[in-house]
Assembly symmetry: C2
Homo-oligomer: 153 residues x 2
């Protein structure tokens, strides 16, 4: 009586569970880098990474691209500005908007962390094998495409 008349559901093979496990393990590994060396939170790093990769944009665009909640972005931006990593400027054509751009210091951090990120990525590929890595990437993209566009984009 102590054991379930067990249904077929197996947590070990449940994709949301696997995704979370993998994401957590992998993210924590890299998070240690930018946390220890630059005092950045995950959200702060992601905001910087988007600005670094895609150029200046406003907060709402970052939300749309990264699917980070807008409150979180708002606070991350405030902190990044306080630390001199980005600047905000009211858009002249629409004064609700604030154009965000990395400062030189911010760009430098982005470049440095980008290099670390690529090294981390290479290590990952080596650990599980390049073919598996490629297949994984493709699967993740498919998933994001399948669920991202329909829901909230």
């Amino acid at each position: 009586m102590r054991d379930t008349p067990r249904p077929d559901f197996d947590l070990d093979a449940f994709m949301p569970y696997l995704l979370n496990q993998a994401a957590e393990h992998v993210s924590l590994g890299f998070a240690a880098t930018y946390k220890a060396d630059y005092g950045l939170t995950r959200t702060q790093w992601r905001v910087m990474a988007n600005l670094g990769r895609f150029g200046a944009m406003n907060a709402a665009e970052i939300c749309r691209i990264s699917h980070i909640e807008k409150t979180r972005v708002s606070r991350a931006v405030a902190q990044l500005e306080a630390e001199g990593y980005l600047t905000r400027a009211r858009a002249s054509d629409d004064r609700r908007r604030e154009d965000l751009a990395l400062t030189e210091a911010g760009r430098a951090v982005f470049v440095a962390l980008g290099a670390r990120g690529m090294a981390y990525q290479a290590d990952m590929a080596a650990r599980i094998g390049p073919e598996r890595f490629a297949a994984l990437e493709e699967g993740l993209r498919a998933l994001i495409a399948a669920y991202g566009t329909s829901a909230d984009d």
Copy 2:
């Protein structure tokens, strides 16, 4: 001057980023189910899923298996007990330990959500194709194995 003299780092191909995106999309989809219908948080659901799948065990074991922080487990367990989904019993051989087990009500929720989970999973596989789905699963397992065991297990 507004655009980065861009380094090679490409956020779109950064695995931790892809993993987080995918995990978030997919998890939120399923989370809506157990949140809306049973008022469960993600941690609560995961605790129940572990108990349902692996049978009675104590909180520390749940921590080890699921990699959830022990404070979080402690609080989830307290809430689940308050709602009648599980029982705690001091282990007779070691009175520090508390054996946790799902109640009938808890088991019923686990079974119901398990069924939903399988349906959700089937939908995912259909959306991206079974081969990709299988490859994705294999890659995720490899990643978890590669990073999980070394770090904190």
